[in-house]
Symmetry: none
Subunit: 130 residues, 4 copies
Amino acid sequence: MLLFQLQGSDDRPIYARIAEQIKFAVASGVLRPGDLIPSVRDLSRQMVVNPNTVARAYRDLQQEKIVDPVRGTGLQVAQGAAEVCRDLRKAIVRDRIRAAIQEARQTALEPTEIEAILRDEWTRSNGAPH
Amino acid sequence: MLLFQLQGSDDRPIYARIAEQIKFAVASGVLRPGDLIPSVRDLSRQMVVNPNTVARAYRDLQQEKIVDPVRGTGLQVAQGAAEVCRDLRKAIVRDRIRAAIQEARQTALEPTEIEAILRDEWTRSNGAPH
Amino acid sequence: MLLFQLQGSDDRPIYARIAEQIKFAVASGVLRPGDLIPSVRDLSRQMVVNPNTVARAYRDLQQEKIVDPVRGTGLQVAQGAAEVCRDLRKAIVRDRIRAAIQEARQTALEPTEIEAILRDEWTRSNGAPH
Amino acid sequence: MLLFQLQGSDDRPIYARIAEQIKFAVASGVLRPGDLIPSVRDLSRQMVVNPNTVARAYRDLQQEKIVDPVRGTGLQVAQGAAEVCRDLRKAIVRDRIRAAIQEARQTALEPTEIEAILRDEWTRSNGAPH
DNA sequence: GTGGTCTAGACCACC
DNA sequence: GTGGTCTAGACCACG
């Protein structure tokens, strides 16, 4: 059974995180083209979130053509979605890392220090994988 | 002469970016304990921003004990501020990088792919330094 | 029904008095953890004060972790807040009394005279309770 | 030699504290009618304070008839000043204590708790006199 | 509906 | 000159 939930500290809007989770589920193959995603009502109950918030996430997903409406049934993962999401996922990851590094540079920290932090955090994340 | 200005795309509030710039200036030694920071009016003129917005940033800096008020004169960098800001700066950088890596992991990307991206972006940032 | 209002003569800023009233309401149990505090707009209307002034008070309360934001809903009293506020209230009272006594001593008044004033004012305040 | 200096934490304006110190010196007999008070320049240097600030304090003292100008010489303590200051001193002390007690009552603390604090702080101030 | 941000401009106390 | 407070009103994101 699919389980979506909000992770800890994160100041991004809830609807964006919900949409992202769906995309990542598609990207990793947990959800495949043709699969129905959870109904707004179900997901909102499961996540203890206002239904409007889930609806907003789903609206965004429709606009991005990640999901298609099926009359009287629900929303299904669109045909091209898997590939789109895989690309998207990688691009998102890359963008965030790029931004983090760029910001680090702008603080006038020594490049060697930044590199040390990068190595450090990478190995650390290997040691205690989520 | 000190030059503060708002960088390009950044969705954080203006006052937060102003406060951060001051902190980084202190961290890097451009501003030292005892120095007066630019007056609200000067800085607001220089940055083309409402004086209240600068005032808000300065108020936050006071609460964090980064600056001290000198009645009728202005705000001066507090005594312990340099060290505090250096630590702060490093902590901020570290946190952002950690968050970026952690999110990358949560997307179920292959670790080797993440590592590749890290390397790639790091060298890329060296090639075209800020 | 909760009633907040500005008391008579007091040269402290309005936002500080608003924040203090909230704290005291929490300390005395009128507001309990999980309760929503009045909305910025409601309270500003009730107190005949600019909404920004109330917002400023609420922002301070957030920084002190007395209240937590619930996105799109309002601000609720934080979990640990009751105890914090009780301590705070007592500390405030104690500090003010200590300061008053200390200043009395510094004026080179006879200790017996100070003590007499203390007794006098205490009984007087009992006679005509607020 | 007379020594005036600013005490620690106190958010009242500097000029008010200077004026108060002069008054208390008169009340306690350290300064007597006819005595010259320090010149603006001397006192400002001694207290490491802007001369304007001392001048402001002296202006207030003149308006209250605590000191009289002596042409080409300076300011001297006025004739009736000693008695005025003694009364003033007591009134100030009394007012502050009254205000402290009144505020304590408004916080909805138990009267017994307030009384305990009063006793406690009074004995404490006896134990470690300034 | 909620709070958050920003602008504009007035007034004040202090030095 | 300095910062601090307050008002008025606009706009935005979120639920």
